[in-house]
C-alpha cells in the first residue's frame, strides 16, 4: 500500500502551484512508495479549503501538505486531521503552530522582506518613493514579508520611502486598478513592489500601458515564465522567487519522512529534504528552504523555460 500524500494548494490553476506539483511528483518518484493527490479549491478561500481537507480526512490520506489561505481558519480542521492520525505540514503559506507539525517557508521571511526592498533599491541609487501592491489583505505570507520589509527599511535603506501598501486580492482587474491608482496618487513613484505573481504582472502591464517604462520600475516576486516579457521590455529590472519545484519537492519529502519514518518535528531538529539539502526547525517548528533567487535580463531566458 502506497503512502498517500495530499498536496493542498491555495487555488488550482496558479502557475506557481502547478510548478510545485511538478516537484511533488518528482519527489514521489524518487521516494517510490508515494501517491500524490494534488488538490485545492478554485476559489482562494479558507472555507473552500476546509471542505477539501475534510474530504482528504475521509479518504484517510497519510499526510497533508498545505499552503493555506488563512493561517487561523484552517487550524481546527487540520487539528482534527492530526487527531485522526494524519501527518500535517504547511508550506509556502503557513498555518498557525497548533494546526500543523511543521511549516516549510520557501525562504526566510526576513530575507524575503529584505529582498523585495533590495530589488527596488538596487536600481534607485538616489532613493525615492516606492509602494507595495500585495495580494489579498488576509494572505499570511505576504503580510509577514511586508512586515519584515518595513522593519529593515529605516536601517538598511534610509533613502527609500514606502508611501503606500495596497491590496489587489490576487485579482488581475483589482490589481490593475490599484496599480493605476498608485501611479496617479504618487506622481513621484519610482518603483512598485508586488510580492505576488498576479500583482506583479498587473503592475508591469500598467507601467507598460502608461508608457512609464524607465520611470517606474516594477519588481517583486514573479514566476519567470509569466514575467519574462516585462524583463524584456524593461518594465522591470529584476524580480525574485524561490524555486517552486524545489518547494513542492521538499514539502512532499518532509511530509513523507514525518509520516513514514516517524521523524519528530521539534525545535532544533534537522531534517533532510533530499536533493535540496537539509533544513533546521526553529522554535515555531518552521524551517526556511533556500534564499530567494533573483531573475534579471541575464538569466530570465533560461528559467522561463523551467517554471
Amino acid at each position: 500500500e502506497n503512502v498517500k500524500i495530499a498536496l493542498v494548494v491555495k487555488s488550482l490553476g496558479n502557475g506557481f502551484f502547478d510548478a510545485a506539483n511538478k516537484g511533488a511528483q518528482e519527489a514521489a518518484k524518487e521516494l517510490g512508495d508515494v501517491d500524490i493527490i494534488y488538490t485545492g479549491p478554485t476559489k482562494a478561500t479558507a472555507e473552500a479549503q476546509i471542505e477539501v481537507v475534510n474530504s482528504l480526512i475521509a479518504q484517510k490520506v497519510n499526510a497533508i501538505a498545505i499552503s493555506a489561505n488563512d493561517a487561523d481558519a484552517l487550524v481546527p480542521v487540520l487539528k482534527k486531521a492530526m487527531e485522526r492520525g494524519i501527518t500535517v505540514i504547511s508550506w509556502d503559506s503557513g498555518v498557525a503552530k497548533e494546526g500543523r507539525q511543521l511549516h516549510l517557508n520557501p525562504s526566510d521571511t526576513g530575507l524575503i522582506g529584505e529582498t523585495i526592498i533590495k530589488l527596488a533599491a538596487d536600481y534607485l541609487p538616489e532613493g525615492g518613493d516606492v509602494a507595495i501592491l500585495s495580494a489579498s489583505s488576509t494572505a499570511t505570507n505576504q503580510n509577514s514579508w511586508i512586515e519584515a520589509a518595513k522593519k529593515v527599511l529605516p536601517e538598511k535603506f534610509p533613502k527609500i520611502k514606502l508611501v503606500a501598501t495596497v491590496y489587489g486580492d490576487d485579482d488581475s482587474a483589482k490589481s490593475t486598478d490599484e496599480a493605476k491608482g498608485l501611479l496617479k496618487s504618487y506622481p513621484n513613484l519610482k518603483a512598485i513592489i508586488a510580492p505576488t505573481t498576479v500583482g506583479v504582472v498587473a503592475a508591469a502591464q500598467v507601467v507598460t500601458d502608461e508608457n512609464l517604462i524607465g520611470k517606474v520600475n516594477v519588481t517583486g516576486l514573479a514566476l519567470p515564465s509569466e514575467f519574462k516579457k516585462f524583463i524584456d521590455n524593461g518594465a522591470s529590472q529584476a524580480v525574485a522567487l524561490w524555486n517552486p519545484i524545489d518547494l513542492g519537492y521538499s514539502a512532499v519529502y518532509l511530509a513523507h519522512d514525518l509520516a513514514v519514518k516517524k521523524e519528530e518535528a521539534k525545535p532544533g531538529a534537522t531534517l533532510s529534504i533530499g536533493r535540496v539539502g537539509k533544513v533546521t526547525l526553529d522554535d515555531t517548528n518552521s524551517a526556511a528552504m533556500a534564499p530567494p533567487f533573483q531573475f534579471d535580463k541575464s538569466n530570465i531566458e533560461k528559467f522561463s523555460k523551467i517554471y
Binding site: G13, K43, A44, G181, K184, V201, E226
Partner: protein, 326 residues
Amino acid sequence: MKAFLKYREIWLLAAIVALIGLISTRFPAFADPGNLRQVFNDTSILMILALGQMVVILTRSIDLSMASNLCFTGMVVAMLNAAHPAIPIPLLIVIALAVGLVLGAINGLLVWRLNIPSIVVTLGTLTIYRGATFVLSGGAWVNADRMSPDFIGFQRAAFLGIPVLSWIAILVIALFFVLMTRTALGRSIYAIGVNPTASVYTGIDVGRTKFIVFCISGMIGGLCGYLWISRYVIASVEVANGYELNIIAACVIGGISIAGGIGSVGGAVLGALFLGIISNALPVINISPFWQMAISGSAIILAVVLNARGERQQGRIILKKVEAVT
C-alpha cells in the same frame, strides 16, 4: 416618459459632476480632461456590460451569467491566440462574439422554451460556464507571455488620440441607442417590461424576444471577454469572479428598474461611469481601499432610494381637475 427619464439622467449626471468636483478638491488633477478620458477608458468594459445587462433587465429578466460568460469566452480567445497567434484580431473578436452568443443563446433557450425563470437559469449557468472554463483550460492560466502583441495592443492603440477600447465603448453605446429608440425590437423590449401579458396580446413574441435579449447579453459578455483578457493580460478561471453584481449595480445606479420596462442607454452608461469613478478615485484620494466596498454599497442604496422616489406613482389626482375647473 421621456421628459421624466431625462430628468432622472440629468440628476445622475449632476451627481457625477458633483462627485468629480468633490474628488478634485482633494486631488485637482482628477478633473483634467486627460484623466477623465482615462477614467472613461477604464470604465469602458463595465459600460458595455451594463448595456448588455440593461436590455435583459428591461424585459423583467436578469443575466447572472455575464461575468462567467466573459471568463469562458476570454479563455477561449486567449487559448486560440496562444495556439495560433496568426489569427487576426478582428476575426478573434468575431469568434468572441460568436462564443458569447452561443452561451447567451443557451440561457435564452432555457428561458424561452422551458419557461424557467431567468434568475434560476443564469444562477445555474453562472457556475457552469465558469466551471467549463476550468475544464477547457485544465485550470492553467494563459499569461501575457503567451499572448501576441497584437492581441494585447489592439485595444490600446490610439485613434484620434483615444484608445480603441474607448471607441468600441462609444460604438456599442451608439448601437444600443439606436436599438432602444429606433427599432421595433427595442420597443418590444420596453413593452415586455411594462406589461408582459399585454405584450402577448399585442402580438409580441415574448419568449422569442427574451431569447434575443439573452443572445445580446451573451454577445456583449463574449466581446468583453476578449476586451477584459487583453486588458488585464491574464486569462484564468478567476477572471471577473463576482463581477456580475457590479454590472447589475451599475444598472441599478443608472435608474434601470429591476421590475422591468424603465431605463435608458444613458442611464446604464452613467451608472457604470459612477461606479468607475468611485473605484478610480478612491486610491487616488488616499482613502483606504478597505472603505471602497462600504462606499459603493452606500451609493447603491442611495441610488435605489432616489430612483424609487422618482418612480413612485403620483396617484390619479382627481381633485386637481376640480381646481382647474373652478
